[in-house]
Symmetry: C2
Subunit: 185 residues, 2 copies
Amino acid sequence: MKTEIDRYEIRLAGAGGQGLILAGIILAEAVAIYDGRNAIQTQSYGPEARGGASRAEVIISDGPIHYPKVMHADVLLALSQEACDKYFFDLKPDGILIVDSGHVERLPSSQALRLPIMQMAVEATGRPLTANMVALGFISGLTQIVSRPSLEKAVTARVPKGTAEANLKALAAGWDAAEGAPKQR
Amino acid sequence: MKTEIDRYEIRLAGAGGQGLILAGIILAEAVAIYDGRNAIQTQSYGPEARGGASRAEVIISDGPIHYPKVMHADVLLALSQEACDKYFFDLKPDGILIVDSGHVERLPSSQALRLPIMQMAVEATGRPLTANMVALGFISGLTQIVSRPSLEKAVTARVPKGTAEANLKALAAGWDAAEGAPKQR
């Protein structure tokens, strides 16, 4: 049974080239096209984009989404120390902080979930570039904000030709890692 | 010499699978990362996404962008009749409407720019999927909202491996077609 979602804000932050925008698009499409909710997916580019930072946002709701940007994130993924430092303050007090333990050393909260995301990607597929899918699988498994079949369909529809298998493997590695963690949301 | 842009709203609308989101991302990255302006790029998914419609938005400014969604578009690209019918009313009175003449028959305005976008893509590259790059090249050449080298860099950085050449060809076909049209903006 699906529970109603009022407004759920997810921010994916790290460096350019880490595939965070693609992860955001896949999550939004899974939630909206296959799970039947509403979603808005956004990237904002300012001076920090020129410095190589990247940030993608997804807002999910069963009702209309009046303001399309993250105000107080329910989930923050930080793949770099810079992203963690910059966006932690926008996280809700009970929000979920997920960091790549190989790239974020100084943690702003003892509640942070530390996961060796890039290392898991390399182990699952041999390709560090699939770290975005590990992270997406972990966030989704943890929050259950999207159904697993919907997410897999969206990955298959959206990733470059010939890469679906590796991306699904990385996604599964992330989702499975979340099975061991206490469910959140 | 660069003129200041206060707020410029571009909406790309058509069907899923036409690559409009990728076109939006490339335009935003060209403008922001390579031309040094600010940009926000958004997709909203509601019931219409389940019907197969797709819409990407880009907002460009030299100042801060307070509201990240299109209110009154300066440019509307419509690759389907449905998109044209649905979004024409949000276009500014002096906004630019660009339609694929092979897919939009009923025009809401005598000022519409009709271009055989998909046919041009097939002629330029043999691949109808590059229609998004023809459209992006045409919009950019017409409005000069982004420099041509920046746009080419963003295309090369963002399209799937091995497809840069075809995508740049399609982009050039669109940009060159705009050279014949009176400059706008």
